[in-house]
Amino acid sequence: MNTSHDKKNHGAAPPEESQPHQVISYSRYVLNWLGLLALTCATVTFAGINLGRWIIITALTIASVKSLLVLNLFMHLKFEDRIFRVFVGVAVVTFIIFISLTFFDYAFY
């Protein structure tokens, strides 16, 4: 019983096909990490300045950019099928709808 021969004759794609082909280099990861560290410094610095009501907006904007860096490169979202990004987008938009509709009960009455 030659398994490798069976595999060759099989109509389905060999297992290697379903792996992502991109091997991301160490230096690209390190650059991403440096970007994340820089944004951490930025958020700590901005928190020290009295920005009034903008403080929460700056903090959340920087956190969102950091999350995008983690999602795209560390979590390989950039290299996955498009359907993965659609799924993540739907999940995030759903959460934003939840949180904004909640505020209709508290902020505008």
């Binding site: 490798s4 297992p15 792996q19 390190v30 991403n32 990490w33 560290l37 999602l71 949180i99 508290y106």
Partner: protein, 204 residues
């Protein structure tokens, strides 16, 4: 012979990763609910949240942020190492990740025990006499960072198992989707902290 048979079994790595992503969305709902509670109470008690946050040390928060970001880097690099067939490098990187996670938890331990020694813990006599906004802030602080720390512990267990698989050769150059799944979970834990950090430590 047995190993050869396992390697040639039909696999769907894209499907496996998608399954893990779907699980991550359930985590988004779990933590998202808490973030909504946080948002509403912070909106209702802005000054009390600010006062309560002064008890937290932004330095420890920053150090823990850097630790988690670095651990995300080492997990990501360990996958590249496996893809290149560098088993020992991958194991070393997973080891570093594990150690960073331990350091994160040690920091958390000192932080929590300092708070508890100051009499700030749920239902403590000191806390119960504070204004409602501060009680809510510390309640959310303990629940959200506690649940996050639990995720760190689970992530460490997952990565430890993946490390054993790498050592045994079950995760190798041709089959590494399990390590990718463990990594995805670890990065999610990192993303949650990316939001917890400014929301609890950086309110001036």
């Amino acid at each position: 012979m047995k190993a050869v048979v396992i390697e040639h079994r039909h696999r769907d790595d894209v499907g496996s990763r998608m399954g893990l992503w779907l699980f991550l969305f359930s985590e988004l709902i779990l933590f998202g609910g808490m973030f909504i509670i946080y948002a509403v109470y912070r909106f209702k008690h802005p000054l009390e949240f600010r006062l309560a946050a002064e008890e937290l040390d932004p330095f420890i928060g920053t150090v823990n942020t850097i630790i988690l970001l670095t651990s995300s880097l080492t997990v990501a690099m360990s996958i590249t190492a496996v893809q290149e067939g560098r088993k020992n490098l991958s194991l070393a990187l997973l080891g570093v990740t594990f150690i960073l996670a331990v350091v994160f938890l040690v920091n958390k331990y000192f932080e929590w025990s300092h708070k508890i020694s100051l009499g700030i813990y749920p239902q403590s006599p000191d806390l119960i006499n504070k204004p409602p906004g501060e009680i809510l802030y510390f309640g959310l602080y303990y629940v959200m960072t506690g649940l996050h720390a639990l995720h760190v512990i689970i992530g460490m267990a997952v990565l430890a198992v993946m490390g054993v698989y790498v050592a045994q050769g079950k995760i190798n150059q041709h089959s590494y989707v399990r390590l990718e799944a463990g990594g995805l979970y670890w990065h999610l834990v990192d993303i949650i902290w990316i939001f917890l950090f400014p929301l609890f430590y950086l309110i001036q």
